[in-house]
């Protein structure tokens, strides 16, 4: 290893000129300093958020986003705790706290109020809500209303309040009434909004591999939580402009279809549903995951010149004028796409991931500096598992993982800073989440007790 500072390589022609490279080098250095959140103001430091969500992580996740941007977020749960504390992979937990709850516990205060059963606690909640800019809840549609603490009661005393309700089927329509008390989960949100129908092997493959397949993460709950936080952020802008609050209604059965918009439009224009096509892609090709000598790589070479470049670096140039893959490699004949898939695989297994990545990068760097504009950018990247991502240099320099320490929970790594902002960045400040830990403080501060 040499001690010389690494020269930054560029892969796009527009940034390849000497002057630009110099400018970008100093800009990159400046950014690394500017994007450090320490000591920066927090954008939502003037608002209170009450999170009364129960047994539904979408509410907790929505509250986390507000907490990361600096709001005072009070998580309200019954004395025996939110059941979300016990939802955790394989039952792994730290002193009774499951891992998803532990990471979404960021920057929150915890108080106990039994909204389901105690009239007195509901009154306290209503008094807290007088001070709140945002209330989040995930009970049955109309349930809080029947307890006298729904949007229409709370907004009378606090017309500036934003009330975010999250349920499977929303707060209005006949179906919402019929399924008002239907409980929520991640997998039902995924299934009911159209995601698993698009994942899995083609219908003529063996069972169960040809079944619809869920995403291996909480795609339903995280998308619903994001939709809630985003809807709430729009409402905060209106509140800042006019002082007026409103109700925000999230249906978790909308999660995937409203995020990507593909299912309703395909259903309409094709007048049928898409089939599942395994590891292929509907639009771009090659665009997917391949085995290599020491693991997995993804390859993206969707444009014609990217594809030709890929054939060159893999030694597959003989396929260049094969009628099955010209002119556009649209994989509507799945068999042909699979032939190409296998041809590429025969080559990728000969090399390690690093070798393939370097082949592609070397090609792109050369093409970027060439006068010939048809060079293409074949992209190859190693598939990271989460532990590999934890070790990645890029994310270390960008401080995506932060070590946090808590008296009860001990020391661990948590992901933070999902977006870098120069003036008012999000951040993680603490993670402690003992049940009722802030009862006294919060009552003193907001209920003058």
């Amino acid at each position: 290893m040499s001690n010389k500072p690494e020269k930054e390589q560029v892969y796009a022609r527009y940034v390849a000129s000497g002057k630009t490279v110099q400018h970008l080098a100093s800009w990159g250095k400046r950014l690394a300093e500017v994007m450090n959140p320490e000591g920066k103001p927090e954008v939502l430091d003037d608002i209170l958020v009450l999170d009364a969500s129960y047994a539904n992580f979408s509410g907790i996740i929505a509250a986390s986003f507000f907490a990361e941007f600096g709001a005072e977020v009070i998580k309200v749960e019954p004395p025996d705790g939110d059941p979300c504390r016990r939802m955790t992979p394989f039952g792994e937990n730290v002193k009774g706290v499951g891992i998803p709850f532990l990471i979404e516990g960021r920057n929150k205060k915890y108080i106990t109020l039994d909204l389901k059963n105690s009239e007195k606690d509901r009154k306290d909640f209503a008094r807290l809500a007088e001070k709140a800019a945002v209330v989040i809840e995930t009970f049955g549609a109309g349930e809080m209303d029947s307890w006298g603490i729904g949007y229409r009661q709370l907004s009378q005393k606090n017309p500036g309040m934003i009330y975010i309700a999250i349920t499977p089927y929303g707060q209005y329509t006949e179906k919402a009434r019929q399924f008002a008390h239907f409980p929520d989960s991640d997998i039902t949100s995924q299934a009911g909004s159209g995601l698993p129908a698009q994942v899995g092997d083609p219908i003529n493959s063996p069972e169960p591999y040809n079944w619809p397949l869920k995403a291996g993460m909480w795609a339903g709950w995280y998308i619903s939580g994001l939709h809630a936080a985003l809807g709430g952020s729009f409402a905060l802008i209106h509140r800042q402009n006019t002082g007026e609050g409103q109700m925000v209604d999230i249906a978790t059965m909308d999660a995937y279809s409203c995020m990507v918009g593909f299912p309703p439009t395909i259903g309409y224009t094709w007048e049928t549903a898409r089939p599942r096509i395994g590891v292929l892609d509907f639009i771009l090709y090659p665009y997917g995951c391949w085995r290599c000598k020491d693991g997995l790589v993804v390859i993206a070479a969707p444009r014609d010149h990217d594809f030709r470049a890929l054939l060159k670096i893999l030694g597959l140039w003989k396929l260049e004028d094969d009628w099955r893959f010209t002119p556009d490699r649209i994989p509507d004949v799945v068999e042909n796409a699979m032939i190409l898939y296998k041809a590429i695989e025969e080559k990728t297994v000969l090399y390690t991931a690093d070798e393939l990545v370097n082949k592609a990068l070397r090609y792109s760097a050369k093409a970027a500096r060439s006068k010939w504009r048809g060079g293409g950018v074949p992209i190859v990247m190693k598939v990271n598992t989460p532990p590999m991502t934890l070790d990645n240099r890029q994310f270390a320099i960008r401080k995506i993982f932060q070590e946090v320490e808590d008296g009860t929970l001990g020391k661990f790594l948590i992901n933070t800073g999902f977006v870098k902002m120069s003036e008012s960045p999000p951040r993680v400040k603490w993670v402690s989440c003992d049940i009722g830990k802030d009862n006294n403080d919060m009552r003193k501060r907001y209920l003058q007790e």
């Binding site: 707060q171 329509t173 993460m217 809807g231 990507v260 309409y268 224009t269 990271n384």
Partner: protein
Amino acid sequence: MEDYFSYTAKLFDPAAVNEKTEILKGIRVLDFSHVIFGPTATRLLAQYGAEVIKLELPYHGDLWRPATYWGKYWKHSNPLWHFVTQNKYFLGLDLKKPEAKEIIYRLAETADVVAENFAAGTAEAWGVGYTQISEINPKIIYLSCSTYGQYGPLRFYPGWDLLAQAASGVLSLTGYPDTDKYYKLPDYLGDYIPGNMGAMAILMALYFRKKTGKGQYIDLAQSEALMRLLWHFTFFNLTGKEIGRTGNSDPTMVPASIFKTRDGKFVALACATEKQFAGLCSAMNREDLLKEKVYTDPFERLKPANAAALTKIAGDWLKSLDVEEITGLANDKGFPAAEVLDDYQICHDPWRRQRGSVILFNDEMYKELVMAGPSAQLSKTPARTKWLARPIGYHNRFVLKKFLDLSEEEISVLEKKRIVGTFDDRPGLKPPIYYNLDEDPIFHYGREGKK
């Protein structure tokens, strides 16, 4: 008191949406972004009333215009592109020419937001990056979207949604543990989710600017945005173990899986709480399970062997029922269950049409198209669709005359020099064949002698 659901029906009446306030009215966005990631962030702003000016290279345009699903066009357009580009103003301008840059700089003087998702450094190289635009307008909010971010050793690596899925760890999570197949998240979810986060970051910056008068620079890396959705990192850090691929089962609750039903359909079923589990046991007539210690303790129940046994019990029971029976029982007994729905079912679901989360939109140019409605329903300031995608340069005159006061003569000169331009006669770029652009008042905005 009034019945709750008649109260909410009025509060969220889809027929009243267009009369309600547009929150971002008066906010102007210069949108240099293309394909899905950046355009999704600006689309959300446009749905709430922002004036989003979408810049495209004349005669070529956005990469996603002609890249359609299985090569199928709809009225010479990419049907999926309408969702991402709704309510935007389409300006065809060749950014590499100096006169074009002058136009951009003038637009930047009064703009509130700029968004771009070129390869990192490209906007700076072209003179329209944050360092240049913020000199013209220090209060600008500037969003740069990329796969790895604007600083750090990987910043110049090329990337798409797929690369972000690979770098973040997401791609290693979907599939069956006994196979060597890894499925990516479908439909470029690795662009859409970060795009939504980009919109949120812009809103936070707007909120901050109103309080302090300060603009800012936002560096959004899609791989990092995806990492925010995973508890897998902390799990590994604390236990030293990997979750890996778990097939159709959710390892955080049990049973929680996708099952095949008697009528050959698929149902997702989950028990997230003790109460839901008791409800399922009652529905299965298996209350005996509630007496076994391995199933009563929630952490114990989640251990792989116990979870597998319970999943098998539930699966065997579900095989004997039709999907309608299962969701009915779920509603009665209080546990989550939902049919696995496909494109066609979602498109034609009456609940979504009533709710407005799937809409039949009637556009001036393209007529009827079914598309997704807002992901969040806001009672006072709802999102809305006003128009669909337009050919490249459709709003050239509208933008240049209305926002910059350019004259017809000045625009003609720019057109002759090919600084401003429209579309080639290619699908994806041009209007539908039946549409007469000559008679379109917006395309010919402020032009004497044209109808």
